[in-house]
Structure formats: structure tokens, C-alpha cells
């Protein structure tokens, strides 16, 4: 009864806020927008609207014990192009820069939450979990796609070779996780402990390995689809260089950040924003430069650079706590913005078109994750409670997987369209379900509120 009394006035206030926001939005939408200045204004308004609406909706969903990021994602879905259409696809595209900035910021946080001593302690668990997740999830999804292809209306036009490539790429993409979601949930639950550290470690390591695995999958797919072609070793050399370069650049950026904190120390959130933006733009510029001048696609990964920078500040300087405090100070608007935009860009059309295949793949992926984490836990002699719940922590997928699907589409246009559609549908389900299960897992192992 006491709970009801506490929640009711808040619910009414939140409902009034949402109504007023919606009224403003409807009014502005009904106006004739002509100039670029007005268009920019409408986009800006939409951004503010999504920010506040997502915050309010997440507060309302707290009653149902759902994680805050689920609220942000739902708000994005509702405001997005497929339901109310308040945020059009063009607007979501225009806000991509803000989205990328937020992602770099989140990657800095991801790196900062990794403590060397924890990683050393949990090294074996991380290696086992990562290895099993890659092998089992890839294997199961690959087999499932081959088997399900006969029953799916989406893939009848594909030849056998194309189907193999399709299954191979989908298998690799299924391995992808969402570091940003993991960070947001851990941060919201103030979670800390063995289970949390393992999940974070696996998520970050997986993100690095995924780039390598995906390049490998592209090379193999190329061999399958092109008769007489062989593995191009130069690709692997460039890939190794890109990963090493990203990590090194991250270390350098991390050192610069800790120097700034030590010597200057104020306006830190602004400085970190500058670093995120700088890293993002510089890596893009360098990628273009290498392609234009050396005909080499050296793809420095902004996410990897930021993670490595955050890790360096946390573990190789004394400025880690101040760094994390500054990130935390501005993290809420960034999470709200990032996840609501992620929600708005979820493709409900793709889900409607391919839902039987998508739901089957989601179930197969979850089975793979369960088997992998359970075996890894048994081998590492983790507590039974952890082994039973670990699968719930690895379901979420987001931007990385979409990015990989789009990259694959560019390489293999003949199967790319099918791949992107299925991946978008699978991600829509995983992104909605994943945060909820992860929060449940953290509650079940008793690591919430320990930070």
C-alpha cells in the first residue's frame, strides 16, 4: 500500500509531463516547415523531446522493475519512424553524429570499468567464456541457418554457396555483443563483483576479437563465392595493424587524458567530449586517407581506441577515480540519448517480414550462449548460481552487429540485403529482451548495489 501511495503521484506527474510533451510535439509537427533553420529546429526539438520522454518513460517502467535502458529503448521505438513517426529516418540519420559521440563516450567508460587486478583474477574465466561463446554460438547459428533456410520464405533465391556465406556471416554477427548496453546496465545497477567483472571482460575482449573474426569470415566467404580465389594474407596483416594501431592510439590518448587530469583537472567532461570527438573524426579521416593515398583499408576502430584509452587511464595512472567521476557526471543524458536513438533506429519492418526466422535465430543464439557459458562455468568451477544465470548477461546486441551486417552487404550485395534484414530483426528482439535479462541476472547473483 505504501508503495502504491509513493508511486501514484509520481505516475500522475510523469503522465502529465508526457502529455504536455506530446502536445508540443503534435503542434510543431502540424506547422509548415520551410527553411533549413526551421528543419534544424525541428530536429533539435525532437532530440530534446526524445531525451525527456525517454527519461520519463523509463521512470514509469521502474514500477515494473524494468531496467532504465529498456525505457529509453521503448521511448525511441515509440517516437521512431515505425510507430508514431515523430522521429523520421532522416532525423535519426541527422542525429548520427551525436549518436557516434555518445558511443565514443560510452566506450571510454567501458575501458575505465576494467580493472587490471580483476582481469588477472578472472583471466581464465574470460578466456573460457569467450572461446566457448565464439565456437558454440557460431556453430549453432550456422547449422540453424542452413536447416531453417528450407522453411524460410526469405532465402529461396540463394544458391548453396550463397547460403553457406549467409550462414557463416550470420554466425559471426551472432557472436557480437553490445558493450554500451552492458555498461549502462552495470552503471544503473551499481553492480560490482566477480560475475560483473567477468561479463565486462568477456564483452570487451569479444569486441576486439569480433573484428578479427569478421574479417576472417569475409575472406572465407570470398573464397566460397569466387571460384579460384585464395586467402589474401595482406588483409590479415592490415587487420593486425589496424587493431594494434587502435590499441596504441588508445594508450596514447589515455596518457594524454591522465596528463590533462593531473596538470589541469577542470572542465574535464568538456575535455573528454573533445577527446571522443577527436578520436572519432581522426580515425575516420585516417581511414579515408589510407584508402585514398595507399589504396589500403586500414580501419582504425574508434570504439577500440576509446576503450583502450579508458583502460589506460584506469590502470596505468592515479587519475582513474576522477576520470570515472567526470564520465559519471554526464553519463545519464548520454545513455538516454544513445539508447533512445538506438530504439528509434530499430527496424520493425524487418522484424515483421522475417519474424519466424528471427525468433528462431534468437532462440538458437540464446541456447548457444547458455551452453557456452554453462560449460565455461563448470570448467572454471564457478558457483552454480553464476553458471545458471550467465547466459542472461550476453543476449543484448546493438550497433556493432548492424555495422558488420552493413559492411557485409557492401562486400556481397547479392546476399547483403537478406543478411541486413535478418540481422536487424534479430537485433530488435535482442535489444528489447537483453537488458531486462541482464538486470535480472545481476539481481540473481546478488551483485547489484555493490559499487
Amino acid at each position: 500500500m505504501a508503495t502504491k501511495n509513493t508511486y501514484t503521484p509520481k505516475l500522475i506527474t510523469n503522465f502529465l509531463i508526457l502529455s504536455l510533451l506530446a502536445a508540443f510535439a503534435c503542434w510543431l509537427k502540424s506547422l509548415e516547415i520551410e527553411t533549413g533553420w526551421q528543419k534544424a529546429g525541428l530536429t533539435t526539438f525532437s532530440l530534446g523531446f526524445v531525451l525527456l520522454a525517454a527519461y520519463v518513460i523509463s521512470k514509469m517502467l521502474v514500477i515494473a522493475k524494468l531496467p532504465l535502458i529498456s525505457g529509453y529503448i521503448f521511448a525511441g521505438i515509440i517516437a521512431g519512424p515505425y510507430i508514431t513517426g515523430f522521429l523520421t529516418e532522416d532525423m535519426v540519420h541527422r542525429l548520427r553524429l551525436v549518436d557516434d559521440l555518445a558511443l565514443s563516450f560510452i566506450a571510454l567508460t567501458a575501458g575505465g570499468t576494467l580493472h587490471m587486478q580483476f582481469l588477472r583474477k578472472r583471466g581464465k574465466a574470460i578466456v573460457l567464456n569467450t572461446t566457448f561463446l565464439i565456437l558454440v554460438v557460431f556453430g549453432l547459428v550456422f547449422i540453424a541457418v542452413i536447416l531453417l533456410a528450407n522453411f524460410s520464405s526469405l532465402t529461396p533465391d540463394l544458391t548453396k554457396a550463397q547460403l553457406m556465406v549467409f550462414a557463416c556471416l550470420l554466425g559471426v554477427i551472432s557472436v557480437a555483443r553490445s558493450p554500451s548496453s552492458a555498461i549502462a546496465i552495470i552503471s544503473e545497477c551499481r553492480a560490482s563483483g566477480v560475475f560483473t567483472a567477468t561479463v565486462m571482460g568477456v564483452t570487451v575482449v569479444m569486441d576486439v576479437l569480433l573484428i578479427i573474426l569478421f574479417t576472417l569470415a569475409l575472406a572465407v566467404s570470398n573464397i566460397i563465392l569466387t571460384a579460384g580465389s585464395a586467402i589474401d594474407y595482406q588483409t590479415f596483416m592490415v587487420l593486425s595493424l589496424a587493431v594494434a594501431g587502435s590499441l596504441l592510439l588508445g594508450v596514447f590518448s589515455g596518457k594524454c587524458i591522465s596528463f590533462y587530469i593531473k596538470k589541469i583537472g577542470h572542465d574535464l567532461p568538456l575535455f573528454l567530449l573533445f577527446v571522443s570527438f577527436g578520436v572519432f573524426k581522426t580515425s575516420l579521416w585516417l581511414n579515408h586517407f589510407m584508402e585514398a593515398h595507399f589504396a589500403t583499408s586500414l580501419h582504425l576502430e574508434p570504439l577500440l581506441i576509446c576503450m583502450s584509452a579508458g583502460f589506460t587511464v584506469q590502470n596505468f595512472s592515479k587519475t582513474g577515480p576522477m576520470f570515472m567521476e567526470s564520465l559519471d557526471y554526464v553519463s545519464l543524458p548520454i545513455y538516454v540519448l544513445f539508447f533512445s536513438l538506438a530504439g528509434a533506429s530499430l527496424n520493425l519492418d524487418a522484424l515483421r517480414m522475417t519474424w519466424p526466422l528471427a525468433v528462431s535465430l534468437v532462440l538458437v543464439r540464446i541456447t548457444g550462449i547458455f551452453v557456452a557459458t554453462w560449460f565455461a562455468g563448470i570448467l572454471n568451477r564457478d558457483p552454480a548460481e553464476h553458471n545458471r544465470t550467465a547466459w542472461m548477461a550476453y543476449i543484448t546486441q546493438a550497433g556493432v552487429a548492424i555495422g558488420l551486417a552493413q559492411l557485409a552487404q557492401r562486400h556481397f550485395p547479392e546476399i547483403g540485403m537478406y543478411l541486413t534484414t535478418v540481422v536487424l530483426a534479430v537485433i530488435t528482439v535482442n535489444q528489447v529482451v537483453g537488458p531486462i535479462t541482464f538486470k535480472m541476472a545481476l539481481n540473481m547473483v546478488g551483485e547489484t548495489g555493490k559499487e
Binding site: T35, A40, L42, T44, S46, V330
Partner: protein, 399 residues
Amino acid sequence: MKITFALLIIIFLAFSGYHLSFRNFRLPLFARQFYLSGTEFLFLGLLLGPQFFNLLDMETQKGLAPLCALLLGWIGLLTGFQFEVKKLRRFPAEYFLAAILEGCLTLASVFFALYFTLPIFMNISNPIRTVAAITLAAAAACTAQTSLVLMSPDSIGRRRDTVRLLRYLSSIDCLSALLIFGLAFIFHPLPISDGSWVEALGWGVLISLGASIGLLLLFTLFLSQRRPENELILIVIGMTVITSGMASALNFSPLLTNAFVGFWLVNLSRDKERIYQILLSIEKPIYLLLLVFLGFGLRIDSMYVIFLAAVYCLYRILGKFISGFLVTGMARELKTYPRKLGFGLLDQGGLPLAIFLDFQQAFPSDIAVFVTSLAILAVIYNEFLSPHFLRRLLTADSK
């Protein structure tokens, strides 16, 4: 060429970092003024913009439009927060009238001077001619306290009353400037009125009032519960972005609309102190980013810009001098102050820069770029001239 500029940018960043870290470092007056006024960030913007590195190309700038709106809104809110009626009442009514009159007189004199000067040097016709003159005049009326703040207590000495009046005038005179700057937006057709400018003005006032009341209600609903600081930050950011976005979608000034909201908040909200602390916490970074944004569009490709900037600066000095002269003769209480009071009101500060950015965003054209460039140069001239004039005023006063 690019390497040279890369080197330059690194030097700028290093020096700016140095300036941020060692506040008491000794540099010659010229360099100190340069760094303390944040002029280096203008050049940083210039270097990053399309003219040099093109790191922030036009596409990127479009993507950053919400950030730009946030900057304008933030400064607008801060400006609105200066007008807390309870605090204003602590001073005699004559002071308030003097501040408004000083702002209006400067604005009127600079407006008329520029309205007739601009067509001599550039191909400019109405309505942009009026809009440009209003913008420049509104910016000219604003005064900052930079030089007053930088003065040592010894140099203030017995002139405490004069300094007190100068501080009061410089915090209030932007009111008339900002309101009249809002008039420039009459020339932007409102999305709901096709009639005359009188009708547009009526609609403009009605919409501004209606929208700010609605936004205030929204703010009040958010603040009806006690919220932790990180959530309050999100609310302030969200509301600022919404207000700015709504203003530009309605073809109105984000700066002015947010100033309205700020005014209502400071006078009606019980959380005003917490909101003000949030606004202040990133005030400096906001101004630095504003300078970088203005730097993108800076074009100094003709001597006319440099010359016109000097002319504008001169008009402003004359305007301030005349208005100061008239104001000090207005009432008995004000007659005790030096007649050259206007010499102490030459610092322009951050608000005019926000006005220029607002103008540049709302009226995008080559003329807007030209006008903004000359105005920014004039602000820099003012930053260098104002300490000398202030010293002169205070020396004369002590005699």
C-alpha cells in the same frame, strides 16, 4: 600548409591548457587579454573550420546543430537568471531605469549610424540591412564585466561606488538589447501568419508568451519532485534543447526564448539555486564552445571587414559615451557619478557573441557571415581597448 596549421593548433591548445591550469601566470598585457578573453578559441574554430583543416566541414556542422542550439539556449537561460526581481529591488529604481536607458540609447545611436553606413561598404538591401543593423546595435548595447573583474582591489580604491554602478549597469543593460534583438525575427515569416509585420509582431509576442508559459509549466512539473543532481542536469539540458528547437522551428530566437524561460524560473521556481549552479558549472566551457562555433564562420578575406569592424567599434564607443553622459545627468542620485561613465562600459563579453551566432544561424547568407566576422573583430578590438578606457575613467574619477 596543413602541417603548419596543425602545429599552430597544437600550440593554441597547449597555451590554452596552460592558461586554464595556471591562472596567475604573468604575460604582457596584450597576451594576457588575448588569453583571458578566450580569443584563442575563435582561432581554434577558424582552424578547424572549412577554411583550413575542414575537420568540421559543413556536414559535420549540420550534425552539430543541436549542440549549437544547446549553447544558445544555455546562454539565454543564464541571461534570464540575471533578472531576479527580488535582487533587482535591492538597488534604487533610478539605477534600473538608468541601465535600461543606457542600453536603449546606445542601441538607437549605433542602429542609425550603421543603418546608413553599411550600404556604403557593401551591397545590402532591406530587410537584411535592418536585421543586420538591429543585431549589431543590440550586441553593441550589451556590456560585460571582464575588465572590472580583472581589476586589482588597489586600483578600485575609493571608486567603489562607481565600480558598483558599472557592475549593475553591465548586468542589466542587455535586457533592452535582447528584447530589441527579438524584433529582428519579425523579418522571418512566422509559420502561422502571412500578414503584415504588425500581425507578425502580434503573433510573435503571443507565441513567445504562450510557448514560454507552456515550457515553464513543463519545467515546473519536472521540478515538482526532488531529483538527484544527474537527473536535474538531464532535465535542464533536455528543456534547453526543447526550447531552442521550438524557437527555431517557429522562426524565433532560441536565445531570447530561453531568456524568457530563465526569467520565469528564477522568479518562480523553488529549485532556482540548484538550476543556477548547474548552469554555472559549465558556463565557461559553453562560452569556449561558442567561440569555436563562431570561429568556423569567421571570414577575414577583405580589408573592408577589418575597417568596418573599427568603424563599428568607434560607433559603439561613441554610443556608450553619449548614453553614459546622458544617464549621469538624468537623476539627482546619478549626478554624483563621472560624466564619462560610458568609458567603463566598453567590454562586450559573451552575450553579444551568442547574439551573433543566433543571427548567423537564423539568417544564413554571405552577408550574415560578413556582418558576423566584422562584429567578432570589433569584439576583439573592444576587449583590448576597454581596460585602457576603464583605467582612464577611474583615474579621472579619483581626481
